[in-house]
Symmetry: C2
Subunit: 148 residues, 2 copies
């Protein structure tokens, strides 16, 4: 509350605008592929954080193992993820994206961020450089915050 007002305002506004844009692309893609929101989220998570067991999924989404198991089962049946036995602990499952699932998510990401390319083109080289500096700073600071 000292005087970060214009800073706070600028960040908020940009986050609002960009969240809205990227969410729009996201829900478009989810709808186009016929995936529901939880299904899509699980796949995104598998893409960014890599393979995991079933319990990790239920923990991250704060749902029961039963619910997670059902979602996973549907995605396996759709051929989008693979569920194999963990060789070190045969109770556990090793859940990961299939090739088909991975490429689907990658198409989704590039669609979700197509507007960023358009954004790039509407700025000058100099503006782009300055933007990159500022955003790197912010990202770095946000990640430091995260770890505390």
């Amino acid at each position: 509350m000292t005087k970060p007002d214009s800073f706070t305002q600028a960040v908020r506004t940009w986050v609002d605008v960009s969240t809205q844009r990227s969410m729009r692309g996201w829900s478009h893609h989810a709808k186009a592929t016929g995936l529901s929101m939880p299904q899509f989220s699980i796949m995104m998570q598998l893409y960014y954080r890599g393979a995991c067991g079933l319990s990790e999924i239920s923990e991250r989404f704060e749902i029961t193992n039963a619910a997670a198991s059902q979602h996973v089962d549907n995605l396996v049946q759709a051929g989008l993820i693979e569920r194999t036995e963990d060789p070190h602990d045969r109770r556990a499952k090793h859940i990961q994206l299939s090739a088909k699932g991975k490429s689907l998510i990658e198409r989704g990401i590039s669609e979700r961020y197509r507007w960023v390319d358009q954004l790039a083109q509407s700025l000058s080289e100099k503006e782009r450089v300055r933007t990159v500096e500022a955003l790197s700073l912010l990202t770095e600071a946000a990640r430091n915050l995260e770890q505390k």
Copy 2:
């Protein structure tokens, strides 16, 4: 595809990080208030884009009038929004946040963006100024894109 690579990358990374952060706060608040996701979204939309008729809601969320009407009805019953007759067209309704609803959303926003204040404190004055410049640029550009 010329060479916006580092730009694209920086924007994507920041959007990912910030979306994740602000969504976390959002779903927290939604859960705490007992609102469902569609209910919350409708209220957010009323907050940012102002009062509107029922059809506007169904269009923006791509649901039927029936579904929109039901959501609105629940929110009216909870005392969070007001539904009055449009004096110029008595078929239409004028839907807007109540005082209670408005303050609920405002509390939500400030919770959602608390991390931005922390972010501000972890940067120097100089860094903040440069960030504000860059983000204003980006926001402006994104809005221009929007209008085309």
